[in-house]
Amino acid sequence: MRIRSLLTFITAGVIGLAASSAYADLLADIKSKGEIVVGVLGTDEPNSFVDPKTREFIGYEVDIATAIADKLGVKPVFKQLAVAARIPEIQQGRVDLLAASLTHNKERESQVDFSLTTFVTGQKVLVKKDGGIENVADLTGKKVLTVKGGTQEPNIRKAVPNVDVVTFETTQQAFLALQQGKGVGYVNDEASLLNDHAKLGDAKKNYRILPQNISVEPLALGIKKGEASLKAAVDGVLRELEASGEAEKIFFKWYGPDTRLQFQSRDFKIDSDKIEG
């Protein structure tokens, strides 16, 4: 009996503790912990991926998240997430911030809050040149490959109503399946597609990216719904980064002319959390 009452006591204590910490403000929690847990994909070059030498997460979104952590005076802790796990993880509070190629759209606004838009990309389709696919409409009735749980699948279904979509846990598995000929097209954000295309090396000439956008995707950081003070702090840092030119520097570091992606210009500014449509 004594052990049981001890257990009850401990359980009650744990629940009480969990409850009390859950009622504090998330920003205050982060500051008192001294660290911010950032959910990243880690498989999505150049937004977030693993440096083969140091085994650390690096990339555009990792740099932005690190800059935010610095300004908040806390340590960033990166946690790798699957595409489909992003929104559940932030809702359940297992990560404090999502920097995981997260599209800001109307459907998701009821699930999660978004920071200012940190990147804008179109979504496109990469195909093999000898596959007989000249434009997006040619994909009707064909098998295309993409990642599970992102906006890629709904967008391609909207663009090509009768398309057959097969999804995988990571974008790179879908890309591999395209190379092996298991489908005729691979759908992803244009920035990631450019990077994947460049990775092919000599085989690059056998592939092309269809010119039409199947959608335009504003990417943003994800914040747990209702955490207004954290959102204000994150947006504040993003505005500072934009004003100081730091944001542009980070963009060119990962997307600029010296990278595989070779973007010559930056066609967006980090200044709004409003989206169209």
Partner: protein
């Protein structure tokens, strides 16, 4: 802060079973359940004869055949099913000749790879159950069969296997249970079975709870049916004392 918090918590959507009991999400989940059941049925039908062959190889009088059976079982059952799935989908087909590959890829290569992986995996486990069932039949039965002039295979078919079946069926049914749960791993290679469709519903509707409750109940009901079949069989055909 407190009232605000409470308001936030209450705006979490309530559990709404209607969402998965009718409409497009229901159809998706049911199509997934159907495919899972097909995977189960096809794999079961293919695994059973393969498992019997492997079990007989392991009991064969020829050392080379015994060695081959043993190598098959050990190399397959010691590797996780997930690795088998990825291998048969991403790895193995790349080794086939170009023409075979084109022919295969034009079909539902995802489901085919899943059936191959599940069949090889399940038969490795089932063959061990069959083998132990056969070994549970006293050796004198085998000797008697041989003494009456039957060959190895004829003795097996007429004397040993009918007796061994009674011992073997309960563990085989439990392997079928494992097979049923194993079909869910096919989701990683894009097979649109039940787990895949549940994830699909989750990302389309953000109703994770409803989608996975549906999947859980579906897995549970089929599993309980299989378990029920096992206990019915044990009552109806108990092991005979020899």
């Amino acid at each position: 802060m407190l009232p605000n918090r409470a308001a936030r918590q209450s705006c979490m959507p309530d559990f709404d079973p209607a969402l998965v009991l009718a409409g497009p999400y229901h159809d998706l989940l049911v199509s997934g359940l159907k495919l899972s059941l097909q995977l189960l049925a096809i794999t079961f039908v293919l695994s059973l004869p393969l498992a019997t062959i492997v079990a007989l190889l392991r009991l064969s009088p020829l050392r080379a055949l015994r060695w081959f059976g043993c190598a098959y079982v050990e190399s397959i059952r010691n590797v996780p099913l997930l690795a088998h799935m990825l291998f048969w989908y991403f790895g193995a087909p790349e080794l086939y000749p170009e023409s075979v590959k084109h022919w295969l890829y034009a079909m539902n290569i995802e489901a085919i790879s899943a059936v191959i992986a599940l069949t090889l995996y399940t038969s490795a486990f089932m063959s061990e159950d069959i083998r132990s069932g056969i070994r549970a039949v006293p050796a004198v039965q085998f000797e008697a069969g041989r003494a009456m002039g039957f060959g190895f295979l004829a003795t097996m078919r007429l004397v040993i296997l009918p007796q061994a079946t009674r011992v073997t069926v309960p563990p085989l049914i439990s392997q079928t249970l494992n097979l049923w749960k194993g079909t869910s791993i096919a989701t990683v290679i894009g097979v649109s079975e039940l787990m895949y469709q549940a994830a699909q519903v989750e990302s389309a509707s953000f109703r994770s709870f409803e989608a996975f409750v549906f999947a859980t109940l579906a897995y549970l009901s089929v599993s309980l049916l299989i378990t029920g079949a096992a206990s019915w069989y044990q009552h109806r055909y108990p092991v005979r004392p020899t």
